[in-house]
């Protein structure tokens, strides 16, 4: 199976992996290829580099879905869209959508605890990414959604999404909290006893003021909870959908591949479909030493007539040394990739993508990355 097949047959592709391995660029490049082939695609990124936005012709990514101008690629048959997750705005929009009236909406939006949460204090970013996914995938406006997740240490929260924040908003916690504030409604003396003690402890730990504000927050939030849970459950289902694929992205370095193996294991244990690992930035060279003088001697002499007397000789020596270093590196990488392969199942693949010269700075270079990804095997 090629990455092209995966991009063609899925509705949601989620890229995971450690930072600095080209995850965001790969996500955008895959999206661009799919758009060229005629699909309507959106790439959702969490923390993109401005340079990538520029390469797509955007000043920078925003929370609005922006259509990318593909007129420079005349064979493009589909549409490419891009957006970046703005946590605060996504959360505010969600509250507005679920609130029964303006008063209910405002009492949440003005709550200080809500504001801290929306500003990503409690890792609500993962929650909002799933909220956005619900909107983008189930909204039916796109054939394919490609999600670029945040780097590893938090990506597990994401797979458990909406994880921590949802547990906080969980009906059980909310109900327990509100009931301890209102002991008259609690059935049974024992429960009341324990809960009363625990509640006292919490007021001691966090202070009366905080718990008072939290109570207001929970009361205001109570009616929204069912709506949020419904959406959350739909996204969890989506993670297990047969038309959803998780792609692990890695660099051919030992720490990055360790993270990749960790993801392979996590995805497997969670029963999420993971067709394989993209090994980016792979240095590919021939196994045998190359002879600089034989291959480039005449050309170098020819091109250096107006340069310093030893330039050609120096450059040839340097090229030989650089190539030797590159061969060593390539061998180290080959060993690391072979080790990775041992942890793959029979249905999982690894795609090696060669390191390309230069940085991605426009649509053409992004397209070249897409070509390399599609050609990888």
């Amino acid at each position: 199976m090629t990455l092209g097949d995966i991009i063609r047959s899925n509705r949601l592709v989620i890229c995971v992996g450690s930072g600095g391995v080209g995850k965001t660029t790969s996500s955008a490049a895959l999206a661009l290829r799919a758009a060229r082939e005629g699909r309507k695609v959106i790439v959702l990124t969490i923390d993109p580099a401005r340079r990538l936005a520029n390469s797509l012709g955007l000043k920078r990514f925003g929370n609005d879905e922006a259509r990318i101008d593909l007129s420079a690629l005349p064979d493009a048959k589909g549409e490419l869209w891009a957006m970046m997750l703005d946590n605060r705005k996504t959360f505010d929009d969600l509250i507005a959508r679920l609130s029964p009236d303006e008063a209910a909406r405002d009492s949440i939006l003005h709550n200080r605890i809500y504001r801290a949460i929306a500003d990503n204090i409690a890792g609500s970013q993962d929650y909002m990414a799933t909220e956005k996914l619900y909107d983008l995938v189930l909204g039916g406006r796109y054939d394919l959604v490609i999600l670029d997740t945040p780097p590893v240490k938090n990506a597990l929260d994401f797979l458990d999404a909406p994880g921590r924040l949802a547990r906080f908003l969980d009906k059980g916690v909310m109900k327990w909290f509100l009931s301890t504030q209102d002991p008259g409604r609690v059935m049974g003396r024992f429960l009341m006893g324990t809960s009363a003690v625990l509640f006292k402890l919490l007021s001691y730990i966090f202070g009366e003021e905080f718990l008072g504000e939290l109570r207001e927050f929970f009361v205001a939030f109570r009616d929204l909870y069912d709506g949020m849970r419904e959406r959350h459950e739909a996204v969890v289902k989506l993670f297990h959908d047969p038309r959803t694929a998780f792609l692990v992205v890695s660099a051919p370095t030992s720490p990055s591949l360790d993270v990749a193996r960790f993801f392979l294991e996590e995805l497997r244990s969670r029963g999420m479909r993971n067709p394989g690992v993209i090994v980016n930035q792979r240095h590919r060279v021939s196994d045998t030493p190359l002879d600089p003088a034989g291959l480039l001697g005449a050309l170098a002499a020819d091109q250096s007539a107006d340069l310093g007397p030893h330039t050609a000789a120096q450059v040839l020596a340097r090229l030989g040394a650089a190539h030797r270093r590159l061969r060593e590196l390539s061998q180290i990488e080959a060993g690391l990739v072979a080790e990775l392969e041992r942890s793959l199942t029979r249905v999982q693949q690894r795609w090696e993508v060669p390191r390309l010269p230069g940085e991605v700075h426009d649509l053409a270079s992004l397209n070249a990355v897409g070509d390399a990804l599609f050609a990888a095997r």
Partner: protein, 313 residues
Amino acid sequence: MITTTLHSRKLLLVTGKGGTGKTTLSAALGRLAAERGRRTIVVEIDNFQPSLTAIFGRAPVYEPARVAPNLDVCNITWREALTEWLERTVPAQRLVKLILEHKTVQTFLDATPGARETMVLSRLLTLTEQYDQVIVDMPASGHAVSVLRVPHVAVSLMPGGPVGKRASEVLRLFKSGTTGLIIVALPEEMVVNETIELWEKLHHEVPELPRPTVVLNRAASPSLSDDERRLISRLGGLGLQGPAAELLLSGQWEADLEVATAEAITRLGAEVGAGLIVLPRLGSLGGFEGGPEKVVRQLAAALQRQALAERAP
């Protein structure tokens, strides 16, 4: 001056874009401090798969473990930080047990905005009382900012209780002049962009912290003359194919790295002024030679040379 100043900090927070070498640098700083006879600990924060494992040959756990003379490592897992925090905060052991056995309350404590981070930072504070230097391998850029913002938010949301009180102690440590902040960068355009953005963001969102020091990691020192660079570029323009192209490409990569390094130093220098440390690239094109532990040793030696060079007139 700058490298020497880092060595004198009680708490060193190391962050930066993913893949820049935060963990390796943290370990190198730890190794160096320990060799200078300071009681040192290198800390990871709630990492499911601790990155320090590969370097020190053992997975760090919550309790500090010795990996070399004067050098300990640990991983501050949230649940254990909570237990410890409760034990020191809640008046009776019986009540701690009550909380730890109540699932709903656990969930509540885990997810209450700011509580988890405050408890992890509280543990860091405790470690600074036990060690001469605490070096923290922080999460990557954006997530580091959201963790470091927490004490401020906790102080304003929970002014009345011990969480708020502890958070204000953490803030005091941040402001004390004994905390240092490092952003690790690489000589790549995108990484430099993100480093500058992070530098500004940290200043705005966590004003309690000192201005960060930027460490440009894996810098390629200039070794090609202008003429040599010119010739490589001319050969590159000939559209060669096959082995000749491959040979040329390997030289171009090294030449590009030198240019990218010079650009990164100029841009970062303009932004951060004197707060820039440049560390050389080890091994070829980012490959590890002799395993991560050797890289840490080489990096520590480079930091040491840097400090000595600063002392020389």
